[in-house]
């Protein structure tokens, strides 16, 4: 028989649920964005994206042919009415819940007097934020 010791810890449940439902919402955004792209409402035509990828063009060549230069940032935020940008936003939205998930998980652990684990969880969240903001330059 299962007992109370098998009850999952609150911090884990909070992290898991935020990530799970955040990701499901992002999926809806991605589906809407994909459909809009195929209906012709796209920042860059779908056929261009897929053809250039299929030809094996480099990332720099793909973007140069599309808009003249690499985006170097969260380009989709300026074009959210376009299907491909909305799709990119949806994918980012799916990744994003890790940050509030880790931070809230950390705060819950701190509240439960698990100081070290709470701080480690918040530290993880901060590192993901550093990635999001592009604070470690890739070029």
């Amino acid at each position: 028989m299962k007992d109370d010791s098998l009850k999952p810890p609150l911090a884990g449940v909070i992290y898991g649920e935020i990530v799970y439902w955040g990701l499901l919402i992002s999926c809806v955004v991605v589906i809407v964005g994909s459909v809009l792209s195929f209906l012709g409402n796209s920042y860059v035509p779908v056929s261009y994206w897929l053809s250039t990828i299929w030809k094996g063009e480099s990332v720099a060549e793909i973007w140069k042919g599309a808009v003249g230069a690499l985006p170097n940032g969260h380009w989709y935020l300026d074009h959210l009415s376009k299907g491909d940008a909305l799709t990119a936003f949806g994918i980012s939205l799916g990744v994003f819940p890790v940050i509030p998930g880790l931070l809230l998980c950390g705060l819950t652990l701190l509240k439960e007097k698990e100081i070290l684990y709470g701080l480690l969880a918040i530290g993880c969240g901060i590192i993901v934020i550093i990635g999001l903001l592009g604070l470690v330059p890739a070029t």
Partner: protein
């Protein structure tokens, strides 16, 4: 399965509806190499393959990227950064979506996840930055180096999967070191296939933690998650039961890839239209795989994955040698 997870039913309906609209109402123009039908088939085919990969990957305790990235790098001529960025999507989303079920079922241990999560995120961000810098500095030779080293890495991953079978399903450490005891990396879960509670205590927390920095770097650099290494490290080094190791590795690779993928997104290497069906397939397959993992043994799936990895690694090594030395090796 679908009725017990209503959100999965709704999601599948939305995806199917979306793809039907995209098929019948498409205003996509053809190009010299792809017709509108080809484009639609690529999208739908990607979704279906991604779903299958996710189910196998979650049950096998690895990231889907370990299957996707080597195959795409080995057998297609797509740009390696596009593959690696999409590979991170494939690697992370099945892990992300299985996080909820794993946490609810207590298969994933939050303390283990947090303890290993810190070093792995540090390694992941460094790995992703190194990947783009190497690609820009060395071009085709850089891609060759990536393919060759990834091919050799695959051999090690296959070995990890091979040795991570039956004998280590429920490891029982003889001695718990002082640091691991102090960190209280212990837990328990209900093992459905045994019909009883399994208690465990992880050991070797210091070497395990150090290894996770390296594993994060590999995940970010190659865009494959490295779930097999994560499962192997947790199971073989830190002595977690194989199911706990698989569940924690799913959650961990989602965290590490969520760190690494931002570098690819902001650089422009993640082409959303191409990556979207792979993401959706991972989510649907991830939910299915996570629920199946709770009730079945993973040993058969491991054997299938080992075979796939070995074929991929041979092709990767050959292509890596071709690109580095500018020669043509006449083997398919």
């Amino acid at each position: 399965m679908v009725t017990s997870v209503p959100e999965l039913s709704i999601l599948i309906l939305l995806i199917v509806g979306g793809y039907l609209v995209m098929g019948f109402a498409s205003k996509v123009q053809g190009t010299e190499i792809l017709s509108p039908t080809d484009i639609w088939l690529i999208i739908v085919g990607s979704f279906l393959i991604s779903t299958a990969i996710a189910i196998l990957a979650v049950i096998g305790g690895i990231g889907g990227g370990v299957i996707f990235t080597p195959i795409m790098l080995g057998f297609t001529s797509l740009d390696s950064l596009v593959i690696r960025a999409t590979g991170l999507v494939v690697a992370m989303f099945s892990g992300l979506i299985s996080t909820g079920p794993f946490m609810r079922s207590k298969l994933a241990n939050i303390k283990v996840v947090i303890y290993c999560g810190f070093p792995i995120t540090v390694g992941a961000i460094l790995g992703s930055v190194a990947a783009i810098r190497l690609h820009n500095a060395l071009g085709l030779v850089g891609d060759g180096i990536v393919r060759l080293s990834l091919g050799m890495l695959m051999i090690i991953i296959a070995y990890f999967l091979f040795t991570g079978g039956g004998k280590t399903e429920y490891p029982e450490p003889k001695h718990i070191d002082a640091f691991s005891a102090k960190m209280r990396l212990n837990g328990s879960y209900w093992e459905e296939s045994l019909g009883k509670v399994v208690n465990y205590h992880l050991v070797r927390a210091v070497p395990g933690g150090i290894m996770f920095i390296f594993l994060g770097f590999i995940a970010g650099f190659f865009g494959l998650g490295g779930g097999a290494f994560l499962t192997g490290t947790l199971n073989l080094v830190m002595m977690a039961p194989v199911k706990v190791a698989a569940a924690c590795s799913g959650v961990l690779l989602a965290i590490s890839n969520a760190t690494a993928i931002w570098t690819y997104i902001t650089y422009g290497a993640l082409i959303a239209v191409f990556a979207a069906p792979w993401m959706l397939g991972q989510v649907v397959g991830g939910i299915l795989g996570a629920h199946l993992l709770i009730s079945i043994r993973a040993s058969f799936v491991r054997k299938v994955l080992i075979a796939i990895l070995l074929i991929s690694c041979i092709k990767l090594v050959l292509r890596g040698i071709e690109e580095i030395f500018g020669i043509d090796i006449p083997i398919i």
